[in-house]
Symmetry: C2
């Protein structure tokens, strides 16, 4: 579909795109860049890819450039590549927050570049190129947010690209994306980090017991609290306005439960717990999780 695709940043997501593009034969040539030579060595040894130590070289002649690095790396990457981008290139990314990135791109005032952000809602708790796999995007949503100046045909091309990787595609404004993701992804991560930090205290004589008996609920949270720390501190900083707002709402809801516990208010507790029970069913009906008990791991 593309004559050349360039992937910048090849961890879990970037390397999964590489694998899927290879498997589906979506490009004649693939070039990759990663600031870690360990990563590029791994890629050269396992895949047929072009690479270079010079990031501005790898984007040359690419019809599709995908930035799949942590958000804090974008500015330097964009400053390094922008003058070497092919005319009418599709420039995209895979980041979980869009507002700050969009500012950086607007400030560069790029000409003949179609900036269309991508966010594949896919991932695991593992990171690095060894953790990637071609089917990661299969049957998962990918949200696209297009810059006003992006060409409609190019938006269609990028939609087709993600569809070819198995994804369902949704177009959304940058602002809506950042708000919705603050609820579906960023809040759960903030909460998971806090709960694991609370439950596992190295000073506590019961620390080993807490690990041992974690199957009562805690283990579910440790999975996302194991996500890549660098990637996540960037997301929290870039989407801080939304995240702080939803964290305030969250604290209010937690306070409501605390008060109901303090007052031994059975009625209130039952009312809260019954309302959240329905949500699981809706998520399963929307095809967003398995209906097998315990995620099917039992």
């Amino acid at each position: 579909m593309f004559s050349k695709i360039c992937i910048i940043g090849c961890g879990l997501i970037g390397s999964s795109i590489l694998r899927a593009v290879n498997e589906k034969k979506l490009a004649s040539k693939i070039s990759v860049y990663d600031k870690s030579s360990k990563v590029t060595d791994y890629l050269k040894n396992n895949f047929s890819v072009e690479t270079s130590n010079n990031i501005s070289d790898v984007v040359k002649d690419s019809d599709l450039v995908i930035i799949a690095s942590p958000l804090s790396g974008y500015k330097e990457i964009l400053l390094s590549i922008h003058s070497n981008l092919k005319e009418n290139v599709i420039l995209t990314d895979t980041g979980s927050a869009k507002k700050e990135v969009n500012k950086i791109i607007n400030n560069l005032n790029l000409k003949n570049v179609n900036w269309i952000a991508s966010h594949p809602i896919a991932g695991t708790e593992y990171s690095g190129p060894e953790a990637g796999f071609a089917s990661l995007f299969n049957n998962r949503w990918c949200i696209l947010s297009a810059d006003k100046k992006a060409n409609k045909d190019k938006i269609n091309e990028l939609e087709k690209f993600w569809s070819s990787l198995g994804s369902k595609v949704k177009l959304m404004s940058f602002e809506d994306h950042d708000y919705i993701l603050s609820l579906t992804s960023h809040l759960p991560h903030a909460v998971a980090y806090s709960i694991v930090k609370t439950a596992i205290n190295n000073e506590d004589k019961f620390k080993d017991d807490v690990i041992q008996y974690s199957a009562g609920g805690l283990r579910d949270f440790t999975r996302i609290a194991a996500s890549d720390p660098l990637m996540w501190k960037d997301i929290f900083i870039d989407n801080s306005d939304n995240i702080l707002k939803v964290l305030d709402n969250y604290s209010k809801n937690l306070e409501e439960i605390k008060n109901a516990i303090k007052n031994k208010d059975s009625k209130k507790l039952l009312e809260i717990f019954s309302s959240t029970k329905k949500v699981r069913k809706e998520i399963i009906e929307a095809g967003q999780d398995t209906d097998k008990p315990g995620f099917g791991r039992n």
Copy 2:
């Protein structure tokens, strides 16, 4: 092993014990009681069990009586059965909190009864007798807390019983149990209910989007927020002292993350997120969760 086992309350846990006892042939006779006639009808149609509308009848001649009802039902159950308990019976339960139950039992001042609480750390987000399965306790921990007056041989017998169901058994004081479980299970449930209530707001025009894009983290939490509301409001009330204490610690840790986000403090965020990453590895090494990405559901 036992000539008669009696199970009071036959939802997910009680019916799973019934299935496992049948499968492993651990009793010559099994009697069951559930206050719902729908449940007892289901059991009579599917298993070879004795039952009665009169709860005090079903415990007669039983060597092992297992209460597997929600905690708030215990008092009435114990008042109804205590005078019909067989001499030297083992009286146990499957509840997630022990302090209040222990008080009720002590107040009854039972003679020739071996009160040894059980807590199998096993379950799913589904409830009711249809949701049970014989392998539910396989390779899971079961915590026993024995009353001072309980006979050592009887404690051994109950340990063997749970081992026969596939469980690993740990003896622990009632107090330690309630503290450890407040961290490993009760805190995660309080947090899960709060987060789902925050993320899914029927007034929000993005409600359907939040369901749709829940795979970015939220869906993990909806599983335990779908647990049986009645069972959980009882746990929160019975273990309120411990839960309120750990919720306070949790709020402090959440505040720390909030402040780091507000101050765009990369260093602090990285430090927190790196510390929680290690915990996942420890839980997997302790055999308490799968190491497959995304719980193996991808």
